[in-house]
Symmetry: C2
Subunit: 150 residues, 2 copies
């Protein structure tokens, strides 16, 4: 989703998180990589495997955004996630594909295995860990100033 | 805190999280290790260093609980955290010490550097990442059934 606040994109991302959960992956929305790109959904399983999902709310969203090609080097599997109405011919057919709605999704085409290298896996996992903990703490302490002021 | 729902323990743990935040560590409460022990607070910084903090709400809490010695092998630094009234003579003087209240804390004695080995660091970081993401998702989706029923 090029606009991270797109309602439709957020709904699809939730469905993707539900699917990843069922696949044994814990996931986060909007994870910023070292390259300063922010991936829509990132999942990690108990073996440490990393899935990145790029959510496309519609054809226009896909056409304007070429960032996704940079994500392949930061994951073991990469998927586009679109809803059932999306014209799938637009998408490159060599990448993974998830058909999602707000409540779940299914894998329509499996991703290649990009076999993330060890140093990068460590870096991505650490980022994921820190972002998740920070967001949780902010959620638990709605008065954010409490943590910024001191 | 032997009883994880001890109000005082939770307040001190919050203060510890505040201190860790100021030190550049993102942290979580109650992180379950592979050995099925649950540490009170775990922090991780941008270099991947791991701090474990054992919160002691009072002398009785310290006396009944010997689990902490098993934590040393899962972190780079280990601290006890107590409030200003706690009789510090009770605590082993070779370990790190944090004096905390509900709003922050200070390091009274620095921890040794346990230099966590790489495999274990990977494992601990991954657990931290997945626990944080799962809690965040549950917080964002208060109707947990949504994620369990399907």
């Amino acid at each position: 989703m090029s606009d991270s606040r797109s309602d439709k994109g957020t709904r699809l991302a939730r469905g993707v998180q539900k699917l990843l959960h069922d696949m044994g992956y814990d996931s986060l929305m909007e994870v910023k990589l070292r390259i300063r790109r922010r991936v829509d959904v990132m999942g990690i399983n108990e073996k440490g495997r990393i899935i990145i999902v790029e959510v496309k709310s519609g054809p226009a969203d896909y056409r304007v955004d070429e960032k996704w090609s940079e994500y392949l080097q930061f994951c073991d599997e990469f998927y586009f996630a679109v809803d059932a109405e999306f014209p799938q011919d637009l998408l490159p057919d060599k990448h993974g594909l998830i058909i999602a709605d707000a409540f779940g999704g299914a894998i329509a085409r499996t991703s290649a295995d990009f076999n993330l290298n060890a140093a990068r896996r460590r870096n991505v996992t650490l980022r994921f860990a820190r972002i998740a903990a920070r967001r949780l703490l902010e959620t638990e302490n709605p008065i954010k100033e409490k943590f910024n002021v001191f």
